[in-house]
Symmetry: C2
Subunit: 489 residues, 2 copies
């Protein structure tokens, strides 16, 4: 069961109107078929709930009693067989089928922009198998993060995927959106955690892919569905790699004279083999705002856990890397403060209520590009009329680069939609031009669909070919990933 | 340039005949077009060389003056543009186009089983860019392993991909066959090393995919081509992740009373975070044959390199894991002996010359399945008439499982082809039934094509859909990966 209703803006259910005009006629015969398969809801409150996710622009619309769009029907299958029946029925009727889990996505990926049917996975939940020897857990797609980890704890296991949405997002959503958790520098992105998938194709075929630690049996077919955001298939079950619950933890904080120095130190540590679970570097603005900075210094928060010897060697390597770049020890208690508040997004919501246009944008780039990406994006955002703040932190590190997570806000510069679009156009295009990619873990959804062509080039043609071959009638989550029929902007 | 001719059996060039009857008519107009693009060879010696790879069954045929098949033309493009011209010309003419690099593959993947054109990548070689800050190297597909590492050394970098074929295989081959190196427990498989790819599609379109350390911009399109064995596109350039050249190394050996104890210790170490570059466990037969065993004990060879603190903590964790499973210290000099002889395959070749049917089979499985997979495969192989030896070692470890690498030999049991097929049918099916996958790093090629359906299930249908969408005329490496038109067995 969901641990938190995704969006609570106090908007009366049933009174909302759709922001987009695109609707699909759903014949009564299809509703009856879906109802026979697993029950079908046409309750206005249900439709309204499933017309939105955590896309920040939609939060503004919700305050005005609008959702991006309304589905005609919501279904909540409890088994893979029921999902297959739903897909086959929608495919035969040529009706859009959009899958939603916790609806915590921030890019509009779960919004049924063309109406039709929403398949809510949250009753397709629970853990089906735990292999303690191999550390593998097979979990249904609609299972929420805390339920997964609660189930694993008695087995001495932990997956360790902690996105900010942990409590309100599902395993299927993590996979579909190719997410990352806050401890990813040790445990990897969800891409690295998936050992196997069960997927229902658009025509109702059920597929099992993966299942071994590594293979050379043709291309990795699981990769086809990880990050496909419900456009190529419906993830119904996931086998994830889990770790022993760690028995040792260490924390540290370091203060740098500049963001560039902190980037260099993070790079040095990671490139020499350090993989601390948490390695978060805040720029001067964010350090001052949230981590006790003086407006000039930049804080690096470090946390690692696991085998005591490996953790000790990791923290030593980070310390050497930091001091060699001129860092001074910071207050280790800052790590605890971050841990406590890390999933609290109430400040952003409060700003939206007060009329600010607020959002975040995360991109990844090679180490050599990161200083330029940081400067270019912050500069571009600040040049947008109405922008009052733009800052960033380095949030997830890899051998060859890292993710920069930008936050920005604007006010009193015209219609919300235009300001929002201008900020994204400026920030995203500056990032791409400076050598970053389109997205690190928030996905594409609706918000970033317009950038897919310039970000992927010929790759988007390949993606369109895959889409046509696996979903020939285009019923799965239409309007997303730049695969045609976009409605925004 | 190649460092070693792939196959030297003393067979006079030009006198060989094709084993398979499948041939494709290549019109003079196509030969002229290919010649205009980059030069086209129809020299009999060239055709004979490109009719075979290191597939062990083909070694037997080579001794009889046969190759699996002969291409009609060999081309050696030097630029991506020339590769695109070749692909477009073959596509327009509907003529098979098989890519070959070092032809060190052991599954027949580079054999032009339907004749047509072979595209030899070995003149598409060299390093185009090195990013020292990020540790990224962009290298052309036809570059051999030693040339890549020699180029990187002055930059203080090393990719660390060391397959047994290191000296005679190319970067493009590593990617196309989804290979693994001997140091993969620290550095990962080639899948983990690829940051980006340049690919030429069947119709000549040039594609760039990847390029960032991590992404959420739709499915990972690079994964589509890694392991596709030349059936979905032609890899022309690869951007690989490289590591700092390590300044510290440690070695150890441990002796276990049983293979199962050694598996358990390897599992314990890796599951608690140890990633030693080398972690190789030999069963009693292989320990006695090559590593000083008494016929009962099983040796574990360990080598790690990198940051001194991390290496020390890793070796400590392995030592604790080994002793907790009853291991006694072994002779560390055994690691040096293995390093020295690790790429020497002359013994296998000598056995083939003497009429033995010899091969190896590698599969991966979760830790919980490995003891059963070991017992089932060794038992099944030994039950094949004529089998005189079957043994294994654990060669590559992961958080959730490992690769078992089987070696087997038979003699005096009938025609080579029948014995060879019987051994593979028995070993591969026993592995699949016990919970292993089809292949860990030797790929599918021709030899394993017949198992793809039972190994992948509905996944093979998806692969066929991808093939049809990306290569609608089926010109790329036909007869491989179970994608139709097989000729073996």
């Amino acid at each position: 069961m969901p641990h938190q209703t995704p969006i609570e803006f106090g908007v009366p259910h049933g009174s909302v109107s759709p922001r987009f005009e695109r609707r699909t006629v759903v014949e009564p015969a299809l509703v009856a078929a879906l109802d026979a398969a697993c029950g079908a809801s046409t309750d206005p409150a249900d439709l309204a709930e499933h017309g939105r996710d955590w896309w920040p622009l939609a939060l503004h619309w919700a305050l005005a009693g609008q959702v991006p769009n309304l589905p005609a029907v919501v279904v909540r299958p409890r088994t893979t067989a029921q999902v297959a029946q739903v897909a086959a029925a929608c495919s035969a009727a040529r009706v859009p089928l959009t899958v939603s889990g916790g609806r915590s996505g921030v890019s509009g990926g779960a919004v049924p922009v063309h109406g039709g049917v929403v398949l809510d996975t949250t009753e397709l939940s629970g853990v089906d198998a735990v292999d303690e020897v191999s550390g593998l857990v097979t979990v249904r797609a609609g299972t929420f993060g805390p339920d997964l980890e609660d189930h694993l704890a008695p087995h001495g296991l932990r997956v360790g995927h902690y996105p900010q949405s942990f409590a309100i997002s599902t395993v299927g959503g993590w996979v579909a959106a190719r997410g990352a958790g806050q401890f990813s520098t040790r445990y990897g992105k969800i891409d690295d955690m998936v050992a196997g998938l069960e997927v229902v194709l658009a025509d109702g075929r059920v597929l099992h892919v993966g299942g071994a630690p590594a293979a050379a049996d043709g291309p990795d077919l699981a990769s086809l569905f990880i990050g496909s955001e419900g456009t190529l298939g419906i993830v119904t079950s996931v086998t994830l790699r889990a770790h022993p619950v760690p028995d040792h933890e260490a924390r540290a904080a370091w203060r740098f004279a500049s963001f560039a120095d902190g980037i260099a130190a993070s790079r040095d540590a990671v490139r020499h083999g350090a993989t601390p679970a948490v390695l978060r570097l805040y720029d001067a603005a964010e350090t001052a705002r949230s981590h006790g900075g003086d407006g000039h210094d930049c804080i690096l928060l470090v946390l690692d856990e696991g085998d005591e010897g490996l953790v000790g060697a990791t923290m030593d390597l980070v310390a050497r890397s930091a001091t060699s770049r001129g860092a001074a020890p910071g207050d280790g208690a800052r790590v605890a403060a971050w841990l406590e508040h890390r999933n609290d997004t109430s400040a952003l919501q409060a700003l939206s209520r007060r009329g600010y246009v607020v959002d975040t944008m995360e991109v990844a780039a090679p180490w050599s590009r990161l200083p330029d990406v940081y400067g270019a994006v912050v500069g571009a955002l600040r040049n947008v009329p109405g922008c009052i703040a733009a800052s960033a932190h380095l949030s997830h590190s890899y051998l060859d680069g890292a993710c920069l997570y930008f936050s920005f806000a604007a006010k009193d510069a015209g219609p919300v939609e235009a300001v929002y679009r201008n900020l994204w156009d400026a920030g995203q295009r500056a990032a791409l031009a400076a050598g970053a990619n389109l997205a690190h873990h928030h996905g594409v959804g609706l918000n970033r669909a317009r950038f897919m062509d310039e970000a992927l080039g010929g790759g988007l043609d390949v993606l369109r070919s895959l889409k046509a071959s696996l979903d020939p009638h285009g019923i799965l989550n239409p309007g997303k990933l730049g695969l045609g029929r976009e409605v925004w902007p």
